[in-house]
Structure formats: structure tokens, C-alpha cells
Symmetry: C2
Subunit: 165 residues, 2 copies
């Protein structure tokens, strides 16, 4: 498994914030939050997590890999839906505990499992104290694919592969 | 303290993903990750966290509030530096466990405590297996203010206020 050879963790705040050594600081669960944006439009597509292996695979292959917290496994984005994310740029933040990916999404161009381009397809009203709960407003919420069909197909294909092994 | 009156948590995945009830799902520490982007340029400015109170204050005031994990307290962004973030739009994601803020930053326009517009001012090389560690490249890293001067000033002002109480 190719992975970035990370130098010993810098010791000072100055080294972490102003240095050129990449020394990602994973949280207690071994994860980093990752923001993926569209390299074309700048739109935030999703927020997900990487463990060390997912980060290493992303860097080595130029395709976004994440750690699925629900499935507890490495997840190559688009492995089922075909909507692979090619990484145009990868950045880290001041204290090296978050990642920003600018990506180009293949296939239908959707990054959300609901079939939408972005996972952030609902706005919350701001500036007024709500009297009885906050109502979400759908924005940029057109589906690019039918998730039921896409994942049913992928599941069927996988089962077919499996049964022919 | 004004806070959004959140309806009982929706029970089904469909309600969470396709409904109009805002029912943010905080993690085990009571936090949500928040991506703030520039409403003007789309650039990712920072990744931070909100607890329920920070989210409520953000929604009620239209100014970004976060939970500072290092200082363990509510943090009105820009309270020391003057670089307040006015929220242009607030969105939640498919499973309602992350927030995207589009903001206009007041003052110097910097959102990073290092004096830069964005916390993401260093890129990690992608696509090549590194032989001896990964070297960060500074990008869009011009400082908008001198952090030492800004926070020293704010600290002094606060001490003055405190001593006159």
C-alpha cells in the first residue's frame, strides 16, 4: 500500500502553521474532516472523512477516497455510482486537521447519494427567531440520477460478480 | 437565549434527507462540522464546529458563531479581530450532520487567525507517490493583517475593559 511518508510531527505551532512539512493531525478516531468542492463552480459538494489510508490513496491515485463511518470501511468515491471525484487540488488548513479537495466529478456529475450534485441542497432560514421550528427550503436540488436505480444496479452487478467468482 | 425550536427528530432516513424539518444531528460531543465559504469568490475559508448554542446564535443573529474546541467556549467569529462573518446563506446536508455557511467577512476580510483570507493556504502535491515526505506549497497565502498586532491589541483592549469593570 503506497502512502505518504509523513515526517515526524512538527513540534511547534509555528512549524504546523507556517512550515512546509505535511503532518496531518487526525482526531481521536483517526479521522480528518474533508470538504469537497466543485473545481468548476466552487460549490460545496460534500463533507466527509478520511483516515490515514484514505488520505494516502487519494494522494497516490488522484481520486478521492474516504472513510465511511457508517459502513466502517475505505470508500472510493463513485465505486458504485460511477461518480468518481478526480482531485484537481488538495489543501490542508492552518493547523493541519482538515482537508479541502477541489474535484471534477465524473459520470452524472452528482456527488450526493440522493442523486444531487451537492449534499447541501436545503437552506435554513437565517436572521429571524423562529416561533415554531425551522423549515428547510430546497435549493439546487435537481437530481442528476435516480439513486434507487443506480444503487440497485450497482448492487446487482456486484452480486453477479460475486456469484461468478 | 434564543434558539431554534427544533421539532422532534424525524424518525426515517427519508424524512431526514427529503423532509423540510430542520433537525441537526450533533455528534457524540454535541458538535457539527461547519464549512464557511466566501459568498463572493466561493473559496473555502475555514472548517470549524458549532454546538447547539452556536448554531442557534448564528441563526438568530445572522453572524457566524462557533464552538472553540481549544478554548471550550462559544466564539463569535471576529470578536477579537473584527473580522465578523455575516451569513448570506446557511445550508445543511443530506443527513443533517454538517453545515455550509456562505459568508461575507467584515474588517480586513481575513478568516484565518494567521491573518490570511482562508485557513487553506497550503496545497499538498497529488498524483505522485512521495519518496521522502510531502512538501506543502503556499498558495493564496498573503496576509491581510498582522495577527500578532491584531490579537495583542484585542488582548490589551480586553484587559483594559476588564480592569475598568
Amino acid at each position: 500500500m503506497s502512502k505518504p511518508t509523513v515526517s515526524p510531527a512538527p513540534e511547534s505551532k509555528t512549524e504546523i502553521e507556517e512550515g512546509t512539512v505535511f503532518a496531518p493531525r487526525f482526531d481521536a478516531d483517526g479521522l480528518l474532516p474533508v470538504v469537497a468542492t466543485s473545481a468548476e463552480t466552487g460549490e460545496v459538494l460534500m463533507l466527509a472523512y478520511m483516515n490515514e489510508q484514505a488520505l494516502a490513496r487519494t494522494i497516490a491515485t488522484g481520486e478521492a477516497h474516504y472513510w465511511s463511518r457508517s459502513r466502517r470501511r475505505l470508500w472510493r468515491k463513485g465505486e458504485e455510482s460511477g461518480n468518481v471525484q478526480r482531485v484537481v487540488e488538495l489543501r490542508t488548513d492552518c493547523d493541519q486537521d482538515a482537508i479541502w479537495l477541489k474535484v471534477e466529478t465524473a459520470g452524472t456529475g452528482a456527488s450526493c447519494h440522493t442523486g444531487r450534485k451537492s449534499c447541501f441542497y436545503r437552506a435554513v432560514p437565517v436572521g429571524a427567531a423562529p416561533s415554531g421550528g425551522l423549515s428547510l427550503r430546497f435549493v439546487d436540488a435537481e437530481r442528476q440520477f435516480d439513486p434507487e436505480a443506480a444503487y440497485r444496479h450497482a448492487g446487482a452487478a456486484k452480486r453477479t460478480l460475486k456469484s461468478s467468482e
